[in-house]
Symmetry: C2
Subunit: 241 residues, 2 copies
């Protein structure tokens, strides 16, 4: 998979065709992977434009006011931003298959878990910037504690996925960070993550890897690790990713 | 309106009747007012239990894991927490009238504004704790800047409410803080809030006060001010509110 990241000086892509959507993304960005998973799960055909976040095209701030990814263009000059809002938008606009649980109470529980997931992924940013293994090792207990409600939820609902027999919105919204966990473990072999405490989540991760929507965007741990390492070292070159 | 706040030593209310919901609330809490507005807008009959947050009943932590309000009991031992998740739950469970815009793109825009509303209400916490007018005056520019997108949105959509000709979810979710703004202005007459920059929001506030769901929970600025003052001074007595 080779991606061309649009950068300063590159022209803006041609106007969006009627009825199409266009995702502004960055191949390694976990937030941008969220809508990519939803698009794949729903079989929506879309344009994808990858942005060089270190050297952004001049016109990109007229797509996203803070020039971040992801952004979903849904019509000429009409853009939806924020990964969760984009996911919700896609789920309403393209209802099949529905990704949230039909039961409002179960849905509320999933939303609450998704709120709590922040405590799992925030330390990921620390790992991305870490140049010392010590920094990463220090966040392990925090991450493990924050993962506990997810393990318990899977144990309780007795299905392979949070969504039931197939992945749902909660599964897809947390997957990008689960995918990168393995990369971080590869990078820091001295890191003792208590995997034995998370048998359900481990089985969930393996099952997720078989899901067609996940397979459409998954990358190998080595590739994530390479990106994370270069990012932390400050040697990232978008023209050589 | 006189409310009895359940406190330490008070027995837990009788089990919920089938088909009923019970809101654990606190009369002055803006977060708890959110579901109260939704319940009123949908004409849902419900039990309300007010909690003394300074001296909580022992059993309350088995309702809400962090013993916060609001919490919505939806069946025996089944509880939905977090004001926005409760609002969503109620909107799904009791679909009439629908409170979110039907168009997914408009809904996404409203959700984004709601995300941004945090920048408006976070300074409210500072005001609640302020004992010096200076503290409150310092947050005015921040709040005014954060309110700008809301003023612009109302100007752009040309309706009385964010939701159109009647209040929708966004209107109700931000109202509790708008209601308390007037109290804060009453408390600090020296505070020069640039009201002239927000003609749309002022008209919106007046229109909201006429809405039956708002009228069901609104309290006078003096009553809010009394609560806020006692809270800041540390002289709050739940048995004398």
């Amino acid at each position: 998979m080779s991606v061309r990241f649009l950068q300063k000086g590159d022209p803006r892509p041609a106007p969006l065709q009627a009825g199409k959507v266009r995702l502004y993304s960055m191949l390694f960005c976990p937030y941008a992977q969220r809508p990519r998973l939803v698009l794949a799960a729903k079989g929506i055909s879309y344009d994808e434009v990858d942005i060089n976040l270190q050297n952004k095209p001049e016109w990109y701030s007229s797509v996203h006011p803070e020039a971040k990814v992801p952004a979903l263009e849904v019509g000429r000059g009409r853009v939806v931003i924020e990964s969760l809002d984009i996911a919700e938008y896609l789920d309403s606009k393209f209802p099949e298959p529905p990704l949230w649980p039909a039961d409002p109470e179960t849905k509320a529980r999933h939303k609450l878990l998704l709120d709590q997931f922040e405590k799992v992924y925030m330390p990921y940013v620390q790992c991305m910037r870490a140049t010392e293994p010590q920094t990463v090792m220090e966040v392990v207990p925090t991450v493990a504690a924050a993962m506990r409600p997810f393990e318990d939820k899977l144990a309780e609902n007795g299905h392979k996925f949070f969504g039931g027999e197939r992945p749902g919105m909660l599964d897809y919204m947390i997957w990008p960070w689960a995918e990168r966990c393995e990369a971080i473990r590869t990078m820091y072999p001295q890191l003792k993550f208590p995997t034995e405490e998370f048998p359900q989540l481990l089985a969930w991760g393996e099952a997720m890897k078989e899901d067609p929507a996940v397979r459409a965007s998954i990358m190998k741990p080595e590739r994530h690790a390479d990106f994370i390492r270069k990012f932390a070292e400050g040697t990232l070159d978008y023209n050589d990713l």
